[in-house]
Amino acid sequence: MTDIPAHDLARKPKTRLRLFLDSDVWWSFRHSKSAMGAAIVLGLVILAALLAPVLSPQNPYDLAALELWNAELPPVWMEGGQMPYILGTDVQGRDILSGILYGTRISIFIGIASVIVSLLIGVMAGLLAGFYGGWVDNVLMRIGDVLLSIPIILVAILVSSVAQAMLPPELREAGIAIVLVLAIALYSWVQYARVVRAQTMVERRKEYVQASRLVGTPARRLMLKHILPNTLTPVFVAATLNFGLAILIEATLSFLGVGMPPNQPSLGTLIRVGNQYLFSGSWWIVLFPSIQLCILVVAVNMLGDWLRDALNPKLR
């Protein structure tokens, strides 16, 4: 993006920030208890996940740190519980709290990464399709049609089980998370592409675009600098809601056994493993990760929900 002048970069965000603070959206946020509550909860969850190495009593991925002697300790407030295992341990002697913190990290990473990847693909595809129309539009949108005609969960299961089977062993540990990100992103880009395309088609016909084209502004600059910003609002709402969906899909895949492996557990994996101990009395192994997953997704969805209402004047 070398052709964007430096002063633009400096000026733009500022005005946007001020615009934002003055906007209805911010006002609505400050006056919505549920949105503020959700934002605070989400912030705390993300912060805790980021600080996992500092906060956790144990590194759950370090095999040498696991002590089988400490397997299945109950939470500290129960008889037999001991510090530092506040929420107890699982059958490997893995601290549940540490597992949850690190697991949340993986879940959030996969959620964010898949949203970013799908945003990049989707926005590019949408801009190109909307701006150029014709065969570019046709090809991209047909690909989208095909993808949307297969339910997401199916795409994700197929992609991740197929790709995992093909990964060479050295890449398996690092590769699975990436495979999951792609499996989820592969599906969700279409949504953004459609939104951006529709908006682009509207913008393209507007006078300022026509005028810029006449004076010879390059297409790329037009798309990125003028058209794109105008499409961002609906895209942003979709991205927030998709973030929640991506976390859910990843958890579901891991629960079904085609997601993260037990030695790099995400929240879904923790629930799958803990589910085996549902009747053995060690209820904490499954309960706490489930609660964390629910809190995370509820918070994200509440924010997304509020955002959608706030940006849609009809519903106010």
């Binding site: 095999l63 089988l68 492996p261 101990y277 009747f279």
Partner: protein, 523 residues
């Protein structure tokens, strides 16, 4: 053993069945199984779970009794005519479920079917050469050489009705690659104590009692409803809520909960299956580079690093039996002297690693499945964790059997789990010929690491043709000793087996080979 007086037995059997059928309640077993059977064709797949289930419908010439001793079934008696020829006298008056009489032609057709080139079960009858019908109820089986374990093998070769096979164009085993279904895949016609009522794969298979069974039933069941419930937690929930009344694989961690339930009984014992680790013994590791595991000191270190006592206590809930040798005590060829469990000694393990030239350890692929053995996912993680303490860097790869087996079998694993119960042979020879022997011809099919010990090969081959039981077992034990000294395989434990049944059952025998034989069950 001589035949029982058959007509009466049949009458009595019919009467019992008739009585219970007219009684207030049909005696039903609702069986919640950890997995489905793969097919109704016992020759479709070398899968012992399926073969055992189908044993309720089909029978072999001989069978195991309640004490796991071989007794006559469809054959009444036998004699060894020459070292390579066995003559079987068949039971008369036996009928298949469709009413066809059982004759020597049926045995011949079945043996031909199972030994066909495309038969996946071919390896279960390794010494078979040919068979010849002598008369309607006598058949000679010709072997490739002297072979002491023919009867053991025959317990698992189920007999089909020839006429039925011919009528339905099923004389050959189903060939998946042809893309055509086999008739025997979803139809049955056996001689066994139960007959098929219906089957929906992965959902439900229903058997009803065969009132015309030739033997006097020791059971009083009228119906078996077999349902795979693959999720262990759901299986336990179904048992607790009474939707199933028999589970042949109760998770060990749930046993206290099940025992506490007033309407349930838990049956437990150790399985004959010994779970062990195999090592890659090719020149290179899977990911490339020199293979340190060819050094005995490395294998010793790996063994010394693993605290099996701790795994026994924590992962296996005190229910497993730690093993020092590769077969369980009940298996002929076992020797107590060899069964001394290697202790744990982390310092010595580290020293050995240094001595071998790997003070910083090395990376390797550790391939486990998540459902083959009891709590496998957990003990694999525990072992990986223990190895990391002596500097090793195992890359743990856990997945379903269907995905892991090709990796293990094609040398894509550096360390892998495998369990061996010596079934259906119930003799040490089974593990020697199938796993410890070098991979050549039909031998060493499960020699997945590619090792070769000429002395083990020699002893195995000698034992394979030795008809004197004592001498044979001595050779087998000798081979196990070499395997132990060389740590060809690293034995872990005999796994626990736990069944849970409704307390309504009066008699529910549990067998050390972990195979439910419901024709001994009374409710």
């Amino acid at each position: 053993m001589v035949s029982r007086f058959r007509p009466q037995a049949m009458l009595a059997g019919g009467l019992v069945a008739a009585l219970s059928a007219t009684g207030a309640l049909a005696e039903t077993v609702k069986w919640g199984a950890p997995r489905d059977i793969v097919s109704l064709d016992p020759y479709s797949y070398g899968d012992s779970y399926t073969i055992n289930f189908l044993n309720h419908i089909y029978e072999g010439l001989v069978r195991y009794n309640r004490d796991l001793e071989i007794e006559p079934a469809l054959a009444e008696s036998w004699e060894i005519v020459s070292p390579t020829t066995w003559r079987f006298k068949l039971r008369e008056g036996v009928e298949f479920h469709n009413g066809n009489p059982f004759t020597a032609q049926d045995v011949l057709a079945s043996l031909q079917r199972v030994s066909d080139d495309t038969s996946p079960l071919k390896g279960n009858l390794p010494a078979y050469k040919s068979a010849e019908v002598v008369d309607d109820h006598t058949i000679d089986i010709e072997l490739t050489g002297p072979y002491p374990l023919l009867l053991n093998d025959l317990t698992n070769i189920h007999i089909f009705d020839k006429e039925w096979l011919v009528e339905n164009n099923a004389e050959k085993p189903t060939d998946v690659s042809a893309g055509v279904e086999g008739y025997a895949t979803f139809n049955t016609n056996g001689t066994g104590p139960f007959r098929l009522e219906s089957r929906t794969p992965e959902a439900q298979t229903i058997l009803t009692v065969n009132e015309g069974w030739w033997d006097e039933p020791a059971h009083n069941l009228t119906r078996i409803e077999f349902q795979p419930v693959t999720s262990a937690a759901t299986r336990v929930a179904a048992l607790l809520s009474g939707e199933v009344d028999f589970v042949d694989s109760a998770p060990v961690q749930d046993l206290p909960r099940l025992q506490a339930a007033s309407n349930l009984k838990v049956l437990e014992r150790t399985d004959l299956r010994t779970v062990m680790l195999g090592f890659n013994r090719r020149d290179e590791l899977v990911a490339g580079g020199e293979n340190p595991m060819n050094d005995l000191r490395v294998r010793q270190a790996m063994q010394l690093a693993v605290d099996m006592e701790l795994i026994h206590d924590k992962v296996m809930r005190g229910k497993s039996r730690n093993a020092g040798t590769l077969v369980a005590p009940a298996i002929p060829g076992y020797s107590e002297a060899l069964d001394e469990v290697a202790g744990v000694d982390v310092e010595r393990a580290k020293a050995l690693m240094t001595e071998a030239g790997y003070p910083d350890g090395f990376e390797f692929d550790f391939v486990c499945t998540n459902e083959s053995y009891v709590n496998e996912e957990q003990f694999c993680q525990a072992i990986a964790s223990m190895w990391s303490r002596i500097g090793l860097k195992p890359r743990l790869d856990i997945g379903p059997t269907a995905k892991q087996t090709p990796k293990r079998a094609n040398g894509q694993a550096d360390v892998y789990t495998i369990g061996w119960a010596t079934l259906p042979m119930l003799d040490t020879y089974s593990i020697l010929i199938q796993m410890l022997h070098s991979k050549e011809g039909n031998a060493g099919v499960f020699n997945w690491g590619g090792w070769s010990y000429p002395e083990i090969d020699r002893l195995t081959q000698a034992a394979g043709v030795e008809l004197d039981r004592e001498k044979r077992l001595a050779m087998e034990t000798e081979a196990l000793k070499i395997a132990k000294e060389e740590i060809v395989m690293m034995p872990l434990h005999q796994q626990p087996m736990a069944w849970a049944v409704s307390s309504e059952f009066e008699d529910f025998p549990q067998f050390p080979d972990n195979k439910p034989r419901l024709w001994y069950v009374t409710k």
